[in-house]
């Protein structure tokens, strides 16, 4: 099989492009690469590719779907032998969402996260106004800390009265 013989770098590059086609099941607008869930793809001495995958939230039900999708996509793409590793540390951060990912989130109607705050005191005072993704007014309010998925909070625009979701900083 030519794919097995292909240079390791080519297989790694192919794996990255395949992974970029794997959508988040809850937010199909962005790929798991955009979200920063793929920590690394590297060739192992035994010839297998190792893919490092980080969970966003520890209890997020989408995580298992993502694992399955990653394995299916790689198996179909003929990148050769591979294994997927769960990378818990360092913990995934919303800061790792790419610029492209942020653009896609906003276009989808989800406000991308601001920079992560790493302590409780900053977090209690981190309520900067979030601009409405539709009318861009900053006259908005947070309705709920927790939205339809673990990674999003629910906000409302006081100007256009539309509710919208905000990707939490974590």
């Amino acid at each position: 099989m030519s794919s097995v013989l292909a240079a390791a770098e080519e297989r790694v590059a192919l794996a990255w492009s395949v992974l970029d086609g794997v959508e988040d099941p809850e937010i199909p607008a962005v790929s798991i690469v955009d979200l920063g869930l793929i920590r690394f793809v590297r060739a192992q001495p035994d010839g297998n590719l190792e893919v490092g995958l980080s969970p966003t939230y520890v209890g997020c039900p989408a995580t298992e779907v993502i694992w399955r999708s990653v394995k299916e996509a790689l198996a179909q793409a003929d990148v050769g032998g591979f294994e997927v590793t769960n990378v818990l540390s360092p913990a995934w951060s919303s800061d790792w969402i790419s610029a492209e990912g942020r653009r896609k989130l906003l276009a989808y109607g989800i406000v991308p996260p601001e920079r992560t705050v790493s302590n409780m005191r900053d977090m209690l005072h981190a309520d900067r106004p979030v601009a409405c993704p539709r009318c861009h007014s900053v006259n908005t309010e947070r309705l709920s800390e927790f939205g339809s998925t673990p990674c999003k909070a629910l906000h409302r625009c006081r100007a256009c009265l539309e509710p919208f979701e905000y990707f939490k900083c974590i």
């Binding site: 520890v58 997020c60 977090m123 800390e145 939205g147 629910l154």
Partner: protein, 258 residues
Amino acid sequence: MNAGATEVDAQALFRYVLRLGDLSLVLGQRLGEWVGHSPALEEDLGLANIALDLIGQARLLLTYAGEVEGRGRDEDQLAYLREQGAYFNAILAEQPNGDFGQTMVRQVLIDAFQLELYERMTGSADARLAAIAAKSVKEVRYHLRYSSGWLVRLGDGTPESHDRVQRALELLWPYTVELFAEDDLDRAMADAGIAPRLSEVHAAWAGRIESILAESTLKRPADRPHAWHGKRGQHSEHLGYILAEMQYLQRAYPDARW
């Protein structure tokens, strides 16, 4: 291991990791009881989300506990097939939900505990626990922001809401003593650099709770001696009912899978 740190045996580490995991699992299960019954849709989502995070923590911790034990038990076997006496959560977690205010009081007390514990555990000599703590603490900050926000609204709200959460605080406060009562197992983990000293966690927790209570215009109840030993497997009657519901399917249909 840290230089100079003492070794701990696998059985001790197994029991300690279960203390952490069971606290999250039992509290997550309790919060799940609110689904479909919360005062508003937003709170239904909020409580379900926190429950999900807690069960996620429990999955990581129980999986690790099973590996440490080395007898081939996985997260599901540990969650669904242990008897009440083999659960090691502090019994605050299993106390009934009561009204929404009582649930928020219990939540603030445990969120602040997990926050202070996990923040310190990110430097654990046990790399796996350090990673789980670093991951979980990010979520716990959101839990505490949610629960403390509600405590302030209810405590500093109407006379009715104030009285209700003050009563809930009087009811639940005695159980907090167990969280910080250091026994041989806690001491061994701290000596080995695996867990922080509970006295340190307690001091930080007390300061944080003090300021949340002040903002909520609530009075901190006095500490009283306690005789709770959930951390050693001696539980209130409530845990049995929780496990009966949670474990029903695996007990009735062993090895059933989705």
